[in-house]
Symmetry: C2
Subunit: 372 residues, 2 copies
Amino acid sequence: VSGCVSDAVQAVYRVAVSAADLEARVESLLLEQTVEVPRRALEAIRPAVSMVGRVTGTATDGDSSFRVTLEYPEAAIGSDPAQLLNVVFGNSSLQPDVELLDVSVPETLARSLGGPGHGLAGLRRSTGVEARALTCSTVKPLGISVEQAARLVRDFALGGLDVVKDDHGLADQAFCPFAARVRACIEAVECVAQETGHSTLYVPNITGAPRTLLERARIARELGARAVMVAPMLAGLPFLHELARGELDVPVLAHPALSGAQRIAPLALLGTLFPLYGADGVIFTSFGGRFSYDRETCLRLVEELREPRAAIAPALPVVGGGMTVDRVDDILAAYGVDCMLLVGGSLLEAGEGLVERSRDFVARVRDYPSQP
Amino acid sequence: VSGCVSDAVQAVYRVAVSAADLEARVESLLLEQTVEVPRRALEAIRPAVSMVGRVTGTATDGDSSFRVTLEYPEAAIGSDPAQLLNVVFGNSSLQPDVELLDVSVPETLARSLGGPGHGLAGLRRSTGVEARALTCSTVKPLGISVEQAARLVRDFALGGLDVVKDDHGLADQAFCPFAARVRACIEAVECVAQETGHSTLYVPNITGAPRTLLERARIARELGARAVMVAPMLAGLPFLHELARGELDVPVLAHPALSGAQRIAPLALLGTLFPLYGADGVIFTSFGGRFSYDRETCLRLVEELREPRAAIAPALPVVGGGMTVDRVDDILAAYGVDCMLLVGGSLLEAGEGLVERSRDFVARVRDYPSQP
């Protein structure tokens, strides 16, 4: 797929199959994605328009496994974000011998879906950070009160962080109600801004079924939130598109909860579809933490976010998943400075020393040479 | 989990780990699901309320694999359908050594989420079918015109089918616009009802991002649709809950597109969560077709739909995924008659003989003894 954007939707799959069975398996995969009937039924019905895609490439991929590239007519999708998911991996997701590795869309579909409305550049503007990497931490764990949440935000802000986001598990639980938390946390960053002149961007997590989520987004905006976080795989990926392109006028950070459950490669889901559907920043679990993506996967994902093949704006890569302060130089050496570093638990362990450790984190990111 | 419903949310995982590493792995899994920080950070922060769950069982499950049962406090979820998904499999979905096998919820949460509003009984009422299995087919393939869709519906209705549903790939594409299709298909079933006295339930597919989907639901209802189909993993699973409990007053058939991509067992996702969130009928890909679930998985899934452990109404199992007319007796012998048989491609191959083959399908289901 790389580099070449045709006027069809392209998808690359890894298919576990023997060479002898490859042709038949690829034929059945091709039919499953759109028409979902045997050729015999197509001949019997003679649809007004042919929606069968075509095979544009097969290559070996290790033992008993092939990389198969299929193209689908854009008309099978229209510009429906749910139908795009369905065509690239709807029924075939139910067949365990198939993984989705990569997706690319034609320019018309990319423009119609729209991509990040703010993106990397917008998140730099929102935080006033021009040349270096951004710093970020998380308000957690689940179980904290509103007062504890606001205290954490205050400490992070005093430590000089650029962004502080809610944990994605903070919804509207009784022990930490949504509106009270957002109000208190925004007050905390405003208070620190008056004291120190440093302005931290607080990003509330908005979750729930769509109507609930929209109501929380409205409350957050009314209370002064200038960005929000959404977990697209919890909320529904097509809903991200609706949010980012219509309901929200502020940047959206996308959280990866539930996204690893798919047999969809991070490049396709987090790197391509999340920003295509409007994520301005994309949080991913980096190599070197407590999750599983390897270095090459992460670098390719970050490249796709910052230099998208689709006709959309670059998005901000947010490097998380168990990052620590003492690894700042290594992380920035790997990713460069066009990213945001998310350090959570490793700061929170400092307890009373949270402000100090946050300052240390900020200093390390500031001191990292932007031109090595 | 089976049989025992406690006042906590229970989840069963398969964890690929050696016996020597089991304890440490289970501890990290437990922390990941709710608080997501190390114990050291918990001690430093002292959250107002403890949201750490507990381990209630571990059992070997083959070589280097364990079944681990965890319980989470209901207060971590409130009654938020997105947060339930997050707690049972949010971040842990990103760790490839973990699969979610089973979920059960306390009675309060089941009642609050509500389950099927119509369920198996409602779908029997909607079709007037009392004692036998229901018959169903699909309007497809993608690429047919409105006229072709209506012709298929007419033929299926003349053949005597109980239910005819749209293919889940039929959205609002230019070659077969949504409102025109729904209008023509409803006219087709009404026309056949006048001619023959047999009333077929036509079920339009509603898809898209939430606002679009709601608009299509509204149009479908205005045009007289008495049930709809939604693919919850495309639309967003929490959105199913909102639809079924608020926006819609008709039964919802849930389609499994994208649902197999998850490392979530069909019992947990299709058998437990889909009906908990309001699906009245659940389409699944049965053994014996072109998909992968084995017989035991399918039987356990059907049992859970019809006799839910949660305090919700039974849902209608819809048996699909490559079923054929000549296998009707086998299928009903396996599942009994409290189900709906979905036969798509195998009917559509009949071409000009579609009415006849539909009649054959209906006759076989009618003739199957309800008391063997």
